[in-house]
């Protein structure tokens, strides 16, 4: 039997909920929302599942909790009057003393309201309390777990966590039936995000990874990191375009959305060559017309070598006018490419703008009439360098709207850290989707942090493989 946690996303992570009668450790740093999650578990248990509950608080005053929880619209005093809830303020030493006494306070309280769930906020002090034999408090926690099991109570034991004491696996994790961890993280040094992870849960399969949650007016809301592809968005499959990386397509519910602008945020150490290569090659194979902006590092020679890997001869395609290039640097191009390269070096922003609007729009429009789809790829750092941040911020939203109206799918390479927090948050908001790739230690990761469907993913390891598309998400 599973017990709903009162948080829909968490129930999904736990494949239905917490196995009934389990003792779970809920740990997190100050302010991560432990008390809120604990009370939500009790409140929803009472209101939605008719399971009365008791909240034990050692450090906080109950009236403070009544007041804090009002901000979520939870009227705890009302539930107390109806004998469905108790918010008990008690010192840990009496709590433990009463817990082990026959017909003690604990037993009385449980019986009085026919209690099914309890929350203890928090067990952090237990470690320092001597038990009856004068030994350390670890045995107390073990006793506590056995008692709540005896009563068949589904329990959350809240544990304060400072990032300092992470040396070894804490004792609580061994005796608990499950462990849920809340964290607050700096994300890529740009965004702060709250994440929830279930690191252990006996008797149920779990959806691994760090799931993002928010504290809202209605309590905790959890967004699942990975979601099963097939259950959604089947209807608009023909509006999905493949990336050439099967696992990424799965995360995106079939592929990138046609007409959407995707940002690939990479840090300087990350190797994005194969990510871009796979997507570019896939688009060529699908018969798209492709417009790309060459950067200072991405030369035609480089692109040619990359496409050779994927079995694509860009020389021929350029001559057939299926590929178009915007060139900011005065570099030589192979013979026969004249019609597909636009030289814009030295062009003023104003003229560049006009070029984009007149030339590119004309091209795209013409192809649309012939039912050819467009794909565009560019490295935003080139625009930043050549045209300035102000230009980027001014024109990006306009280009996004243009892409959407012509069904042109766009992949933009950017380094959020490099462009600064303000520009990054603007670009993130304006893009329809964001893939982030970064290196941590000796591993590279990729994560979908935004998509037009609202799907986001957990971070995946990026593994190099010997055959096309040369990368795989693990």
């Amino acid at each position: 039997m599973k017990v709903s946690t009162g948080i829909r996303g968490l129930d999904k992570v736990l494949d239905g909920g917490i196995p009934q009668g389990s003792a779970i450790v809920l740990e997190g740093a100050p302010g991560t929302g432990k008390t809120t999650l604990g009370m939500q578990f009790l409140y929803k248990g009472i209101v939605d599942h008719n399971e009365p509950g008791i909240f034990f608080t050692f450090e906080e005053f109950p009236d403070q909790i009544y007041e804090d929880m009002e901000s979520y619209g939870w009227d705890l005093k009302d539930l107390e009057r109806k004998n469905r809830l108790r918010v008990i303020g008690i010192s840990p030493d009496i709590f433990l003393d009463q817990m082990t006494s026959k017909d003690g306070l604990f037993e009385q309280l449980v019986r009085e309201i026919d209690c099914r769930r309890i929350v203890i906020d928090s067990i952090s002090l237990f470690e320092y309390l001597p038990d009856k034999t004068g030994e350390n408090g670890r045995s107390l926690l073990y006793t506590l777990r056995n008692i709540v099991r005896k009563f068949g109570l589904t329990s959350l034991f809240i544990q304060e966590l400072s990032s300092l004491d992470r040396r070894k696996i804490p004792f609580e994790h061994f005796i608990a039936d499950g462990v849920i961890r809340l964290s607050l993280k700096e994300h890529m040094n740009i965004f702060r995000k709250r994440t929830l992870e279930v690191t252990k849960m006996r008797g149920t399969k779990i959806n691994e990874g760090e799931h993002i949650y928010q504290i809202t007016d209605k309590g905790i809301y959890l967004l699942l990191a990975s979601q099963i592809v097939t259950d959604k968005y089947i209807s608009d499959q023909n509006e999905k375009i493949k990336t050439g990386i099967p696992e990424l397509d799965n995360l995106l519910g079939g592929g990138m959305a046609k007409g959407a602008v995707y940002m690939l945020d990479t840090n300087s150490k990350a190797n994005y060559r194969h990510i871009v290569g796979a997507i570019y090659a896939e688009r060529v194979k699908a018969g798209n017309r492709i417009l790309s902006l060459l950067s200072s590092t991405q030369t035609v020679t480089e692109l040619k070598a990359l496409m050779d890997l994927y079995g694509i001869d860009i020389d021929q395609l350029a001559r057939e006018k299926r590929l178009y290039f915007i060139e900011h640097y005065n570099r030589p191009f192979p013979a026969g490419w004249e019609g597909s390269v636009f030289h814009v070096q030295g062009m003023e922003n104003k003229d560049y703008d006009r070029f984009l609007w007149e030339k590119c729009k004309g091209l795209v429009k013409e192809c649309k009439e012939n039912h050819k789809d467009w794909f565009a790829y560019y490295d935003l750092s080139t625009i930043f360098n050549e045209r300035g941040a102000e230009y980027v911020l001014r024109s990006f939203a306009k280009e996004t709207a243009f892409a959407r109206s012509f069904g042109m799918t766009v992949l933009v390479l950017c380094n959020f850290k490099e462009v600064g927090e303000q520009a990054a948050s603007f670009l993130e908001r304006t893009s329809n989707g964001v893939f982030k790739t970064w290196v941590d230690g000796s591993y590279q990761y990729l994560q979908v942090t935004k998509s037009p469907d609202g799907q986001i993913s957990k971070p995946y390891l990026l593994e190099s493989i010997g055959q096309k598309p040369y990368i795989r998400l693990v």
Binding site: F61, P62, D63, E80, R81, K82, R86, V87, I88, G89, I90, S91, D93, I94, D97, Q98, L105
Partner: protein, 85 residues
């Protein structure tokens, strides 16, 4: 007879227990919660217990106090529950 500072400390205790009807505390615990000396709290808790406002359970250091809900109010809120208007 009753000292003024006793009165205010009595009010403090009373308010604490009234706004936290499910507070179960020892004298030691109350000392921490209220920031008042145990020796000052002792006579007040005695008196509130004698008046039937608080209930004392147990002996010695592990004896704890809790608020005793006045019977009338309990009944009142019970009937108002039965007939919501």
């Amino acid at each position: 007879m009753v000292k003024r500072e006793h009165l205010s400390l009595e009010m403090e205790c009373l308010t604490l227990f009234q706004s936290n009807p499910y507070l179960f505390e020892t004298i030691q615990g109350l000392e921490k919660r209220l920031g008042r000396k145990m020796s000052d709290l002792e006579p007040i808790l005695e008196s509130l217990t004698a008046q039937g406002i608080l209930q004392r359970t147990g002996e010695g250091a592990m004896a704890y106090f809790r608020y005793k809900e006045p019977a009338v109010i309990a009944e009142f809120s019970f009937t108002s529950e039965l007939e919501p208007l």
